[in-house]
């Protein structure tokens, strides 16, 4: 699918159409020097595609082109295409583009057989004069219808085809298909053209559940691979926009490790630092669970960081969103005023999911948005069939990843269906990086909001359900309590908190009291210790005194006895002691 690779190989050279998605499908454009058949019902965009092919060739590829108008006059064709901004008249003046009016006159009288020799001769001159490389025959069926029989029709088609091939012109022939059912085209008289040409593209315009949906399919492409599936497309303000599901080059985009705030400090903590830059975030919940508030907080945080942000509201008017969010302290009005935030009321956009995606892409590009909020993305499933909406959601995420845009989508869950956490209707929950689920808990006569993170790729995240509290001061997350296997929120949580607080206080007081008591006891003991010590000292002194007194008494006594003996002298000597002659 890489254009540069395919052109270097043997496959036929491609003439780019300038329609990004279409060139991706065909691997670079239409077959160069060959004929492409463009089949579609009324209003399916045949002329627009063909014109865009010519305009792109003339402007960007130096391939002048000729437009042969069989049905509408060239003036009207140019006039109708004026809104696309291709500046066809400039190209005409610069002889890069030539319109040939080949409408059969209304009062044309026809008698017998004729051929297109005159036209080809005229084109021959013009082609040589301009050096034309591209040519479009718009509504060839108009002129074919004039031919008297089927054989003549075939002959003229072959003549035209041979002429184109001989001059190596890259041609587009557009044909009407009668019914919506494009498969039945081969039953039509010129159905065989699909076998003759080298490339056939079928444009389809259908209405599914009242919503217009356009799609195109490359039916065949000789000598080249192509995307065989139907691709949705849209005729936008600058022409064709073909939606391609996956462009391979985009898959490996640079991933960022940068974190961006969710706008709620506590939620950032729960997510381990916030969302990743370029991540896709899905917020699911029933109506009234504060999905918009949460995404509004994200938008405000982004604007505060100075990042250009786009907020797409599907459910409510954007001015209402700004007003409503200001009631919970999310002030978006100043960012709207300074231009960094772009609010889009998408209710005004009608059409298929494809239309929404293309518009959002275009607007985001125009605004240079780094952060995009879509509230809610589930609004898409209302428009058209589920299958296409699903693929649009896929591409939305694919696109935001490719652009590195941080995307926050909300998705409304249907209360009636009781999906619970069964995922969003669009099933994009599998694709997103972070999925936050909001729900109500009805308990004790209260309805409280709970927030939980279902998944968050690549970040640690809290497993706890937190209560989401909205107040005029802002959005906060509170811890929830579990009691008896039930999560407590609201008043119950408050009561529990209060009870815990009271308990805590009581415990604190008790501890204080105990401490005081112990202090007192300690002091008492200390005092006692001191008095005992003093007593001890007194006793020791007393004891010392006693010892001394006893010793001196003893000495005194013995001394006294000796003295007394000496004084008496007459007393018999004390046995064992010789005092004198006996």
């Amino acid at each position: 699918m890489n254009p540069s690779r395919s052109s270097s190989l043997k496959s036929p050279a491609k003439a780019p159409t300038g329609i990004a998605g279409f060139d991706a499908i065909t691997g670079g454009g239409l077959p160069c020097g060959r004929t492409t058949l463009l089949v579609g019902g009324p209003g399916s965009g045949k002329t627009v595609l063909a014109l865009q092919f010519l305009a792109h060739g003339a402007r960007a590829c130096k391939e002048p082109g000729i437009f042969v108008a069989f049905e509408e006059t060239s003036k009207r064709v140019v006039g109708n295409a004026a809104s696309f901004g291709w500046k066809l008249t400039d190209l005409q003046r610069g002889k890069k583009l030539y319109f040939m009016d080949a409408q059969p006159l209304p009062d044309l009288i026809q008698s017998g057989d004729f051929d297109l020799g005159g036209m080809l001769a005229a084109l021959e001159v013009k082609t040589r004069e301009m050096g034309a490389k591209r040519i479009v025959f718009d509504a060839l069926d108009v002129v074919l219808a004039l031919l008297p029989d089927l054989a003549a029709e075939r002959r003229e088609i072959y003549r035209l085809h041979a002429w184109l091939l001989a001059r190596e012109l890259t041609g587009i022939i557009t044909l009407k298909s009668g019914a919506d059912e494009t498969n039945s085209i081969s039953q039509q008289p010129f159905g065989f053209m699909q076998f003759m040409v080298d490339c056939a593209v079928i444009l389809n315009h259908s209405v599914v559940l009242g919503v217009s949906q356009r799609s195109l399919r490359v039916q065949k492409y000789r000598g080249s691979g192509f995307d065989e599936n139907e691709s949705a497309f849209l005729i936008g303000s600058s022409g064709f926009e073909v939606a391609v599901a996956h462009t391979l080059s985009r898959v490996d985009v640079k991933v960022s490790n940068e974190r961006v705030s969710s706008g709620i400090a506590r939620l950032d903590t729960m997510l381990g630092g916030g969302y990743y830059r370029g991540a896709s975030v899905l917020i699911t919940g029933f109506s009234g669970t504060a999905k918009t508030t949460l995404s509004g907080a994200f938008a405000e945080a982004a604007c505060r960081r100075g990042e250009r942000t786009m907020f797409v509201c599907f459910d409510t008017n954007s001015t209402e969103v700004v007003r409503n969010l200001s009631s919970v302290g999310i002030r978006l009005d100043r960012y709207v005023k300074n231009g960094s935030l772009r609010m889009i009321s998408a209710r005004a956009i009608t059409g298929s999911a494809e239309t929404y995606l293309v518009r959002i892409k275009a607007l985001a590009q125009e605004h240079g948005a780094r952060c995009v909020v879509i509230d809610p993305v589930s609004a898409w499933s209302k428009s058209g069939n589920d299958l296409s909406t699903q693929s649009v959601a896929d591409r939305l995420i694919d696109w935001s990843k490719g652009e590195g845009t941080t995307l926050v989508c909300t998705s409304l869950l249907d209360e009636m269906s009781g999906q619970g956490e069964g995922g969003s209707q669009l099933q994009i929950s599998a694709l997103v990086d972070t999925w936050i689920h909001l729900n109500y808990l009805i308990q004790a006569g209260e309805r409280n909001r709970g927030l939980s993170i279902v998944k968050s790729r690549g970040t640690t995240h809290s497993n706890q359900v937190r209560e989401l509290i909205l107040s005029d001061a802002g959005v906060t997350l509170a811890d929830t309590y579990t009691a008896g296997g039930e999560v407590l929120m609201g008043t119950l949580r408050w009561e529990k908190e209060r009870a815990e607080r009271a308990l805590h206080e009581a415990a604190e007081v008790a501890a204080k009291l105990k401490r005081v008591k112990l202090d007192a006891e300690e002091a008492e003991l200390e005092v006692r210790l001191k008095s005992l010590q003093t007593e001890l000292i007194a006793k020791q002194v007393e004891k010392a005194l006693l010892v001394r007194t006893t010793q001196s008494d003893k000495g005194e006594l013995s001394r006294g006895r000796t003295q007394m003996k000496e004084l008496r002298g007459a007393d018999a000597a004390i046995p064992g002691r010789k005092v004198g002659p006996s």
């Binding site: 059969p104 009288i109 057989d113 004729f114 002129v143």
Partner: protein, 96 residues
């Protein structure tokens, strides 16, 4: 319309293609029968004079233009069905 008015025709042909040759033959036969000495036929070969075909807006060959008397009428094809051709060229009035 005057009985003696001149009829001017221009026939665009594509080389010697069969239908072009048929148209020229049919026209010549018709003029000889209905407008003896009162007609001029100019034959333009779009292959030889493609610029002229482009300028005149001729895309289908053969194409016959009745330039005079006015208004200009054009008929595409081999002119093989005589009756509509006679009517379209206003020759039925003469025949009557």
């Amino acid at each position: 319309m005057s009985r003696r008015a001149m009829f001017k025709f221009r026939l665009y042909v594509a080389g010697d293609a069969l239908n072009s040759a048929q148209a020229l033959a049919n026209l010549t036969a018709l003029c000889r029968a209905q407008l003896p000495d009162r007609h001029e036929i100019e034959v333009v070969d779009v292959f030889r004079e493609p610029a002229r075909a482009l300028a005149d807006g001729i895309f289908m060959t053969p194409t016959l233009l009745r330039l005079a008397p006015s208004p200009v009428r054009s008929i595409v094809g081999t002119l093989s069905q005589t009756q509509p051709v006679v009517q379209a060229l206003g020759l039925d009035a003469i025949a009557a």
